[in-house]
């Protein structure tokens, strides 16, 4: 009887120990933050960013968790709506720091990147932004990484292709009159001029709803092409609509964030649009695009752009691999060191390289190939890859 009692007690203790260690494994979390505009005119980009990181997290969770040392931890995504503003992104960094999140995928836009960098640096948080700002990253922010190649990397090859395809002689580049617009517009204008194209800049106040006066001003200069640059999708769509109404018959371009669907819809179809070239921040094969859409739909019903989802899924995967190698998600400096040792390769985006030295003075940019889309005389010719390595 006494032996039986002793065995029962030992078995109970062993069982309790097992339960406790299981509970510890469930309590093991690797937190990663997502920051971007999830409301307002640029919400499509922010929501797509969040979806991308959630896909990356789900991949690891479905495989049993993120390996961190001897444990496998659940990846938890913490998102914050930065409303496409510097103060929103700065608040995001502090809010996420208070929740113990020191690896942030995002933010998306230039004003946000400007706001988050100094705060994240102070908090020792890694950030991976996708902005097209001239100072998206830099040696003064060693924990800031760049998710996509910037205008300085892709502008020349893309403009060269556009000029050859459409015989562009003169162009007006239109953008909002804040950093989100001016940083990319100035690079674009310099590049067009370097290619022998007569280029002008036109800026407008963000929040403009009726572009009729700007359209009239643009039409006065009689350009053969108009580049709607980094105007938010809603603005770009209205601008194109009103330009077509005013009788513009030339080529449209967009060397900025994705907005092709909105522009085609506003124009009333690709036949009406005529000639259009646009930048895809990454080049995603059609087969992978279908996979992205399917995976995306299985996770969430929120609308998203597949290319932006792919960018942030890639950044999410790289961030999580770095966390796994570092064995921690709370030490931003350690995670950044591991991130720099990773190869730039992604199942959806292909092979890239570490770039950024000529443009930013620091080699912390994920140089995945970009894409250039073409609609020629109302026919969609699809997206062709453009390498940025060596640019």
């Amino acid at each position: 009887m006494a032996r039986l009692c002793r065995a029962a007690i030992i078995a109970s203790v062993l069982a309790l120990t097992q339960i406790c260690s299981d509970a510890n494994a469930q309590e093991c979390e690797a937190k990663v933050g997502v920051v971007g505009p999830m409301s307002g005119g640029a919400a499509l980009w922010g929501l797509s960013a969040r979806n991308g990181v959630e896909i990356a997290a789900a991949e690891f969770n479905q495989a049993g968790g993120l390996p961190m040392g001897e444990k496998r931890c659940k990846v938890v995504v913490v998102s914050y709506d930065s409303k496409y503003s510097a103060e929103g992104a700065a608040a995001a960094a502090n809010n996420l720091a208070s929740q113990g999140v020191n690896v942030i995928v995002g933010p998306v836009g230039s004003p946000e990147a400007t706001g988050i960098k100094p705060v994240a640096e102070r908090n020792k948080q890694v950030t991976i932004n996708s902005s097209f700002a001239k100072d998206a990253i830099g040696p003064q922010w060693p924990l800031a990484f760049h998710a996509v190649a910037g205008p300085s990397a892709w502008a020349k090859p893309v403009v060269k292709m556009a000029k050859e395809k459409f015989d562009i002689k003169s162009i007006v580049v239109v953008a909002p009159n804040d950093q989100g617009g001016t940083d990319t517009a100035t690079v674009a204008v310099d590049t067009y001029r370097g290619m022998g194209i007569d280029a002008k800049e036109e800026y407008y106040q963000r929040g403009t709803t009726n572009f009729a006066p700007i359209v009239a001003r643009i039409m006065r200069s009689d350009p053969t092409a108009i580049d709607v640059c980094t105007a938010p999708p809603g603005d770009a769509a209205t601008l194109v609509k009103q330009l077509l109404e005013a009788g513009f018959k030339g080529t449209f371009g967009r060397l900025g964030g994705v907005a092709t669907d909105e522009i085609v819809r506003a124009a009333g179809g690709i036949e009406t649009l005529g000639n259009f070239y646009w930048l895809e921040s990454v080049n995603v094969e059609p087969a992978h695009l279908e996979a992205i859409v399917a995976v995306q739909k299985s996770l969430t019903q929120t609308p998203a752009n597949p290319a932006v989802v792919a960018i942030f899924a890639a950044s999410g995967r790289l961030a999580l691999k770095a966390i796994s190698s570092a064995g921690t998600s709370s030490d931003g400096v350690k995670v950044a060191q591991e991130l720099r040792n990773l190869s730039i390769v992604d199942p959806w985006l292909g092979k890239g390289d570490w770039t950024g030295m000529p443009s930013f003075g620091i080699r912390q940019e994920f140089g995945f190939p970009v894409g250039m889309g073409l609609i020629v005389k109302g026919k969609n010719l699809g997206v062709s890859p453009v390498s940025v390595v060596g640019q």
């Binding site: 409301s39 709803t209 001003r217 039409m219 819809r265 009333g268």
Partner: protein, 288 residues
Amino acid sequence: METAISAGIIGIGLGAQYALLSLGFTLIYGILGVINFSHGGFYMLGGYVAFAVVSKLGLPYPVAVIAATLVCAGLGALFELLVLERHIDDHLATMMLTMGLYLVMGTVLVLAFGTEPVEFHSPVSGSWRSGRIYVPYANLVVLCACLAAIAGVYALLYKSNLGRALRALADDRPVATALGLPPKILFPAAFGVATGLAGFTGALVTPILSLHPHIGDSILTISFMIVILGGLGSVVGAAVAAFVVGLVEAYSSIYLGGSIGALTLFLLVLITLVVRPTGLFGRQVRAA
């Protein structure tokens, strides 16, 4: 010369749109003393109701415009009756409540229609052209609607019994109530007329420009600026200020650029308020 004429035509077109927007805003302030921060929301809602009626129900566009007007009017009247009326004398409370309504409307529209602009085109296409001068026919429709709305609101306020009752309540509510005028019926009616006008504007203008769930922010800003310039509560002032703003915006944007055009507008408002703090047609009211 062609540019100057084009600028004038664009300015009048802008003015018509702004007048339609600001009439409702100033009406609510003039009658109820409420600054309606949900004005942009009703504009958006009007656009989306019209879009839904046309694209989902397949009904003609004029029916969609009427439906948008009635839905916004009904929702506005209900909101005033059930929510605002309890706090009508508390300016801070009414501001917060209308702002809250705007946020709720924006979120509901995002959930229902998504964040991207929807494909909503005006059934009136084509433009009148002469050289480089052009006037889209859709803009002419908006201009005619604007003139009709200004005439209608003026007739309602100054030529009808309802208007007289509303003005009496606005001037002195206790006395008007004591004389038998029912604020609980008249105030929701006034609010409904104003929000109906915003919905009507949304249904007319969004097919010309763009329809997405974030257009309300800038609508509120421009409406506010125009009614301040015209004089809070003055229907005539709002209409005149709208065309002044439209013309200044058009000429300055075309000749000086988009950024300076916006600056010019704000400078105009600033100078006007320094010289005439009550606005162009506002009245200075002294306490007894």
